[in-house]
Amino acid sequence: MSLADPLARYMCEAEPLHDFLRRGLIQLSGFLLKRTIAGPRAIVDYEPVEAAGQRIREAAEGLGSLRTPMWAAHHQRHMGAALVALESALAAALSTTDRNGDTLFHFIEEAERHLRAVGRATPGFEAVDFRQACCATHAGVAGFEARFAG
């Protein structure tokens, strides 16, 4: 399958966008986790929210110009839904009214559901990055050799 194939091209273009969404989800969830554990009186560190905002903007720009063949529509629909949920989560994270994090967590869970659906729809879009797993260093060596061989 070459990149002239619309599906192959879609998968190549969608993969980094999926990664942006995945990272945005992790960062927003991490923000809420820290905030919850620290308690209501703690000073909130917004660095994860800023990072998530950047990832979400990058995903939005990419998804807006993504050329989606008909047979990838299901995949693309879940990507779009995850983006919408993450945009809502980002707004909730920056809101002064969502003090207990209920709204933020609602949209985090929704985004996670859609990203899981994306992972199930297309192998290679799993919602976890195993490349750096502590049990996976030998696979990393294989990957290194594959990248730099010849």
Partner: protein, 292 residues
């Protein structure tokens, strides 16, 4: 007889794991079998797990195919070897945030979870860095961090800030900062209940992978050798190893590396029908042996 029964329970394995990761040193020196395991502690009306393992759904199958993890079995099956159900677990002590240690957060519906605050803080911080720093994050599964958030919101995820004595009677938590991970933790079980215990076990998480980390490979010239995978420093790993050894009076066999394949020959053990192992470190008064 001690206050707690303690078992190390295999739940999966990587059959060919690079020795150079387990033991810092030369590369290409071969592979070892690396069991995946958690520790069950039972007694004092408590059922405690040290780490959760991971859940072999969705990404688990991907993992198994890609990285050689094999023979995974669910906690319900593994714990049953000791007459325990996941719902019986009252407390889970998370040594660090890697998926094979905390990837089963939703498998224990009645448990409270303890993890070092530093582990969460630095994990979240590392997640804000660019993808070029992804080594620092390890296998950050969004599901794990979302599950941890859910537990925290339910008041079931407790962040420990440094060392904590008697989290449960006779059980202490120790921060090992900037070692294998930023906020790794090891667990001491003082099984006689004494402050200066003569019957202590240390559950080391991934601060050591093998007894060889505590002894070196030359029995005539022993030394501490760090593991080969750290986001912190090798120095911190060495000094943590020394602290752990000191706490058990130098008896290295009482510092338990859950990934050590030889545990089953150091302590009484048995193989299960599934080809896993139950290793019995200690048996409390009135408890039945699970390896006899």
């Amino acid at each position: 007889m001690g206050k707690y029964s303690i078992w190390v329970l295999d739940y999966a394995a990587v059959n060919k794991f690079p020795q150079s990761v387990m033991l810092y040193g030369p590369q290409y020196v071969g592979v070892r079998n690396l069991p995946y395991a958690y520790v069950l502690i039972k007694g004092q009306e408590q059922v405690i797990l040290v780490d959760t393992g991971y859940d072999h759904k969705e990404y688990g199958k991907y993992l198994a195919e890609l990285y050689g993890v094999s023979n995974w079995h669910p906690a319900s099956e593994v714990l049953a070897e000791c007459g325990v159900k996941p719902a019986d677990v009252t407390t889970v002590l998370i040594t660090h945030a890697h998926f094979d240690h905390m990837g089963g957060l939703d498998l224990f519906p009645n448990a409270k979870f303890y993890i070092q605050k530093r582990e969460i803080d630095k994990w979240v911080w590392a997640l804000t860095l660019g993808p070029e720093f992804r080594f620092l994050v390890g296998a950050a599964d969004p599901a794990d961090i979302v599950k941890a958030t859910r537990l925290a919101r339910e008041g079931r995820m407790i962040a420990v800030d440094g060392d904590l004595e008697d989290v449960l009677p006779g059980i202490d938590l120790h921060l090992a900062a900037d070692t294998h991970t930023y906020g790794s933790m090891y667990v001491t079980v003082r099984n006689d209940g004494a402050r200066e215990s003569a019957d202590a076990f240390i559950l080391a998480g991934d601060l050591i992978y093998t007894y060889d980390n505590l002894t070196g490979l030359d029995s005539n010239d022993p030394q501490l050798v760090p593991i080969g995978l750290a986001v912190g420093s090798q120095s911190n790993l060495l000094f943590t190893s020394a602290d752990m050894l000191k706490a058990v009076g130098g008896d290295h066999k009482r510092v338990i590396p859950v990934h050590e394949d030889r545990l089953k020959s150091v302590f009484p053990s048995r193989a299960t029908k599934a080809g896993l192992h139950v290793v019995e470190l200690a048996l409390a008064d009135g408890e039945t042996s699970r390896v006899a």
